[in-house]
Every structure is written in C-alpha cells, then in structure tokens.
C-alpha cells in the first residue's frame, strides 16, 4: 500500500537535459587569483574587486556550518569551477543576438525569450551558468523608471545603487556560504522600483545550471523605494548529473517605507536519483529588510536539490512592518532539506506570519528551522507560526526546530504544529467514498499545501501543481 503511495509521488525529473554549447570555463579551484579573474572577466570597478577580496579573505577564516540537520560528503572547494559562460552569450546585447541554442534551451524549459513568444505579463532575466543571457521587457519597464537587468549590467550602468545596497542586508561576513558567494558571484538580477511605482508586471529570473562540476553563485538585489511594490519570481533547474553541484546564492531585498516586495520561488534543481547519486547542493542566504509600514513576503515551493539549506528571513526594522514566510518543502528519495525562516522584530507593532508545510516521502528528511526574535523595543510585536508536516510512508522523517527569543513582554506569539501521515486510513476513507488512490493522494496533498499555493502568482501556482502532480480545488470544474 505505501509503495503505491510512493509511486504516486515519485515523478521523473523533466528538466534533466544538457545543452551542448561552447563555454568559456575557468579551471577548477579557488584563490585570490580566481576572484581577480572573475572580476576582470566582468570588467568590474576596483571597489567591487576589493569587496570580493575582503569577502574571500573572510571566507578563508570561516568554517562550514554543521548545525543543519543535513548530511553530505565534505565539499572540496578546490574541485569546483567558479566560472562558466556560454562563449556566444552577449550579456549586454539585445535578445535577437542570443545564441539560438540558448533560446532553444529556455524554450524547452518553458521560458520563451524571443520577442514574439515572450510570456505575457512576466519580464524574465535568464541566467545560464555564470551569466545572464537576456532580459525581456526591459524597454517596457524602463518607461516606468523600473530597472530590471542582469547584476553585471547594473554594476556598470547603476554603480551608485549597487554600491549603496550591495551587502546592506546580507553582509559578506554573514555566514560561510554568503562569504563564498560574495567572493565569486558571477551574475544575477537587479531590480529597482522607484518611489511610488507599482510594477506593472511580474519580474522573474530563471536560473539554469548547465556546465558540469561548475558552481552557480548568483546574487539578486531588489530595491523598492518608498511606496513602491513589486512581485518577483524565481525558478531554477539543472541537468541530471551523477556528481553533486554547488549552488550558493544570496538574495537581498530592501523595502523602504510603505513599500511591498513579494518574492516567490519554485526551486526545482536536480535532486539526485533514488539512491541519492548526484543532485544540487543548495546553500542559499535570502534576507529582506522592511522599513516603516513595509511588507516583505517570501513564498517558496522547494521540490528540488539533494541538500537544501535556506532560511528566507525578514528584518522588521521599521514600525508596523510585516514579514511573511509561506513554504512548501518536499523531499523524496534521499533528499534532505533544512529550511525555514528568521523573523527579527525590531520596530514597534511589527507582525510576522509563518506558514510552513513539509512533505516527506521516500527516505527524505525534512527539517523546519525557524527563529522568531523580538527585540526589547518591539512593543506590540506579533507572530503567528503554523508548522505542518506530512509523512508519506515509513522511511522518511520530519523535524521541527523552533527558536523563540522574546525580549519584550507585550509580544503575542502563537504556535501551531501538526504531523500527519498519509497512510492506509486516509486513502481508505477516500476510496470508500468511491475515489481512486491517485485522486485520494492528490486531494490530500493539494489540501495540505493550499494555504501556501494561494500565495503564489497564477503562473507559479500552476507550475507548482504540475510539479507535485496535484490539482488544486477551484482550478477545475
């Protein structure tokens, strides 16, 4: 019976193909020279190279964290390639100049980039290994004063903004992986929404790892000026390979007074096979800073990667600011995820809302790790945490690690937790009402994830449903 359930959740990875393209790839290994090489390939200004070098030197003094509830063989940082770019890519050129092979790759991933076939209502920055290969709707967005471009381009075109905000939320010294990223990051996306502007379309970055043994170290920086608002989507896939690949990204969000940033992720990196061979090691630092009356909302659907280490967080700096975290994390086969959030309440009447749904199947191990910290001045802070785990079968595990630190006695905290098993009894109940086993599992999983999926923009909700092989109530019939 439980094997029947597991067969239903075990799906073939659809994005495991490799694009055969000539690449400018540097040899494996990490040193100051490599950092300098990356910087020079991108023709960066000195201040940025200096920042990278400081990060690198700091990284050398740091050790990899051992507290996450994940287990993996030691990573040999000298065996990783830190830069690989398709030779024909023209990061600063127009979309018409993009190599057809790359266009074909993105088309296969469901992200058409050519002007005629672009996704309606979604501007896409396509990042392939270490570089951005194109960004759609740039001109359209520019009319509103919105900057949406690759990080490399922003360094040249908008250095004052990058200098001001880079590292302002996640300093290079923040943690081991953030320091590594700061030293070697190659590209990523930059968004800037001017004061009072509501971004008229979804902004999106699609990350693709292609080259073998290469790490991807991208950096995303989103700045919403006073009263601005933006919804941003992030998607990721990688080929099936029998070796592990390293992904260490940093995302920084800055929501100034009265601004709103909604950041949604569907993470579908290759997860390795059923025996745990291959797959991406995903170590990501995501953090936002919300000023007065601002709101930052993280929504993530984590289905991929062999290892996930990720805690999208919000620093609730300004009074009345709001932080939200909605997460569905799915582990199957040998996948391990240690994910959650941190909500740091600094301002008065700050509010945070955490809804975490973990689904464990196969021999997967899923941990929720969440910190709620209320600082002494944060009068009237409120937190609501809901943490639900679903176990499918008997060989998987779910773990919950809440950290609650309250330094103000006017805080209000509520915590709800549940652990359920999709077992024989649940399936039997629905079968007894005439439904098939497949519909039964689909219905139970969809219901379980509903509170998170309703936070996703439409396109993403559909993609997420498809990934999990479920149909959400209301989207049919």
């Amino acid at each position: 019976m439980s094997s029947e359930i597991e067969a239903l959740v075990g799906r073939e990875y659809q994005y495991g193909f490799v694009t055969d393209i000539d690449a400018d790839t540097i040899p494996p290994g990490l040193s100051e020279d490599v950092v300098r090489l990356i910087s020079s390939k991108k023709a960066e200004p000195t201040w940025l190279l200096d920042w990278r070098l400081k990060a690198y030197r700091r990284w050398l003094t740091m050790t990899e964290p051992t507290w996450p509830n994940v287990h993996y063989p030691a990573i040999d940082y000298q065996a990783v390639r830190y830069y690989s770019a398709p030779k024909t890519a023209k990061p600063l050129g127009s979309l018409d100049d993009v190599d057809p092979t790359l266009l074909e790759t993105y088309k296969k991933l469901g992200i058409p980039l050519n002007e005629q076939k672009m996704l309606a209502g979604v501007a896409v920055d396509a990042v392939f290994d270490s570089v951005s290969v194109g960004t759609t709707y740039k001109a359209e967005l520019a009319k509103h004063g919105i900057i949406f471009c690759s990080f490399s381009e922003a360094v040249h075109e908008h250095p004052e903004l990058i200098r001001k905000y880079l590292g302002s939320v996640v300093p290079y010294s923040d943690n081991f992986f953030a320091a590594l990223n700061s030293a070697v990051f190659s590209d990523g996306s930059f968004c800037y929404i001017p004061k009072g502007v509501k971004c008229p379309m979804e902004l999106s970055t699609y990350f693709r790892i292609n080259a073998a043994d290469t790490g991807q170290f991208e950096r995303t920086l989103i700045v919403a000026e006073e009263g601005a608002s933006v919804s941003y989507l992030e998607g990721c896939t990688a080929p099936k390979r029998s070796t592990n690949q390293l992904h260490a990204a940093v995302v920084e969000l800055i929501a100034l007074d009265d601004a709103t940033i909604k950041y949604s992720t569907v993470q579908n990196w290759y997860a390795g096979d059923e025996n745990g061979v291959g797959g991406i090691f995903n170590f990501v630092t995501k953090r936002g800073k919300a000023m007065r009356n601002a709101k930052i909302s993280w929504t993530q659907v984590e289905t991929g990667s062999a290892i996930t280490w990720k805690y999208p967080s919000v620093i609730l700096q300004g009074d009345n600011s709001v932080g939200e975290f909605y997460s569905v994390a799915v582990v199957n086969n040998m996948q391990q995820a240690d994910t959650g959030t941190k909500m740091i309440h600094i301002g008065r009447n700050t509010k945070s809302n955490i809804v975490s749904k973990g689904i464990s199947a196969g021999r997967g191990q899923n941990s929720y790790r969440g910190q709620v910290k209320v600082m002494p001045k944060a009068d009237g802070a409120r937190n609501y945490t809901q943490c639900d785990s679903m176990l499918i079968g008997n060989a998987c595990g779910a773990h919950t690690f809440p950290y609650i630190e309250i330094n103000n006695n006017t805080a209000t905290l509520e915590h709800e937790a549940s652990t359920t098993k999709i077992g024989e009894d649940q399936i039997f109940y629905l079968k007894q009402r005439g439904m098939s086993a497949e519909n039964a599992v689909s219905m139970i999983v969809a219901g379980f994830c509903k509170e998170v999926f309703k936070e996703l923009p439409m396109e993403f909700a559909l993609e997420a449903q498809q990934l999990l092989g479920i149909t959400l109530e209301g989207s049919v019939g």
């Binding site: 649940q426 039997f428 079968k431 009402r433 005439g434 439904m435 219905m443 379980f448």
Partner: protein
C-alpha cells in the same frame, strides 16, 4: 442482498474473525453488539475492504457478486457505504469539494455524468436537512475542527448524498451526547427504505432505542454467538455479556 459465509480474517498474525455467518436482506436493519475486542469493527472494515485486514477464508456475496474480489472504491461504487468510527480529517479540502468529488466518482462509475458545482448545491440543500446541518459546514475543511457529533453527522450526510444500498455504521453513536445521538439516529431512520439495508455496529444498547433493529447479533471472540431480536439487546443491557460467553463455552 448480503450473504456472509464462514468469513475469517486476520490482522498481521492475529486471527480476529473466526467464521462469521450473516445474511442481510433489503429493508432490514441488523445490529451487531459485543464486548471490546470481539471483532465488531473488524467485520465492518473487512466488508468495506480495509487493507489492514486479510481475509483468510469464507465468502461474501453482495447482490450475487463476490464482494471480496472488489477494490474498496469498487465496493463503494456498488453501493456499500461505511460510516467510519473515526472519520478522517483532510485539511485544506472543503467538505463541498470532497462531497462533490465522491458524488461524481459514484455517478461516473455507475455510467452517469458529473454534475457541476451549481447543480450539486441543489442536491446538497435537501440532504443537509436530513442531518440538521447548515450549509456553512460545506465550506469548512473535511472534518477539521468538527466536534464528535458534527463528524458523525457528516458521515450520515455523506451517506445521504451517496445513497448506498448497504450502509455499515461503525460505532456511529460512541461518545455522542443524547441530543447528537438523536439527530444522527433520526438521519439514519430517514434514509431507511425497503430497497436498502443497514448493519449497525455498536457498543451501547442505547442507540437501539433510536434505530430499532430487526435483528441483533452478539459477536464474541470473532464469532456470532447469539442472534435474536431487539429483546436480546435489552437482555444484554440488563445482564452484560458474561452469561452469554459462558453459555457459548458450555
């Protein structure tokens, strides 16, 4: 309608049903009583096809067909309904969507067409009255946050919607206060028809004051050790099970 012959079943290593014989005709209500651990609930679950139990012998024919050959959902399609002792909670799935999915699954299996949400609401309107529930419960998640009485009423509502030929009520009365018990029993009574039948499994004689059975069977040690009419239930209430168990041993 239902013919059970020498049915034996086990859970893991443990034999629970040790030769059940029971025949149920259309229009009849049979009560099954017995001490804790006698196999009452197992019998109900086996008839519905619960995967935890293995049928080790005997036959069950339902309207001439071999019931044991059918998957649980096929039994449901044929008209076998089990009101669960512990109804399952399904977070995030509304009762309306769940009921409609079940209703449509049944219709399709019986060669009909699916109904759309609007048509289904019409169907629900009269069914809700049977169990004295208002339509607010349709938008709540299946059995989530329902009181014990509401869960059992929801089971009877599902029964009303799916219109089974054979309803098996597994301890539907346990833990209910007298008012909730009355509503549930009246719901069941309203659904009684000459062409359907019910098997009522209960731990408490009290229920049979409200759902009056045609036959009462006492299950002990995996066998029916005594069958009779309603008077047998009253006698059991008076004297307990020990005298019957001793007679059965003698």
């Amino acid at each position: 309608m239902l013919e059970i012959t020498n049915l034996t079943a086990s859970a893991g290593e443990k034999d629970i049903l040790k030769g059940i014989n029971l025949s149920v005709n259309a229009g009849e209500v049979h009560a099954i009583m017995g001490p804790n651990g006698s196999g009452k609930s197992t019998l109900a679950q086996v008839l519905a096809g619960h995967p935890s139990y293995e049928v080790t012998g005997g036959t069950v024919r339902f309207e001439g067909e071999d019931l044991l050959e059918l998957a649980p959902e096929e039994r449901a399609h044929r008209g076998v309904f089990l009101a669960f002792q512990y109804p399952i909670e399904i977070p995030g799935v509304s009762n309306a969507y769940f009921l409609r999915s079940a209703y449509n699954a049944m219709r399709v299996a019986r060669g009909g067409d699916e109904v759309d949400p609007m048509e289904f609401l019409d169907v629900m309107e009269e069914k809700l009255k049977i169990v004295e529930m208002d339509d607010a419960m349709l938008s709540r998640s299946v059995n989530m946050g329902f009181s014990g009485g509401e869960k059992k009423r929801n089971e009877i509502l599902q029964m009303a919607v799916l219109e089974p030929k054979l309803a098996i009520l597994d301890e539907t009365d346990s833990g209910l206060d007298i008012d909730a018990l009355r509503v549930v029993a009246e719901g069941v009574n309203k659904l009684r028809r000459p062409d359907n039948a019910a098997i009522v499994v209960t731990h408490y004689q009290r229920l049979l004051n409200y759902i009056v059975p045609d036959y009462v069977h006492v299950l002990a040690g995996g066998r029916i050790i005594r069958s009779g009419t309603r008077e047998l239930a009253l006698e059991l209430e008076e004297k307990g099970y020990d005298w019957l168990l001793q007679e059965a041993l003698a």
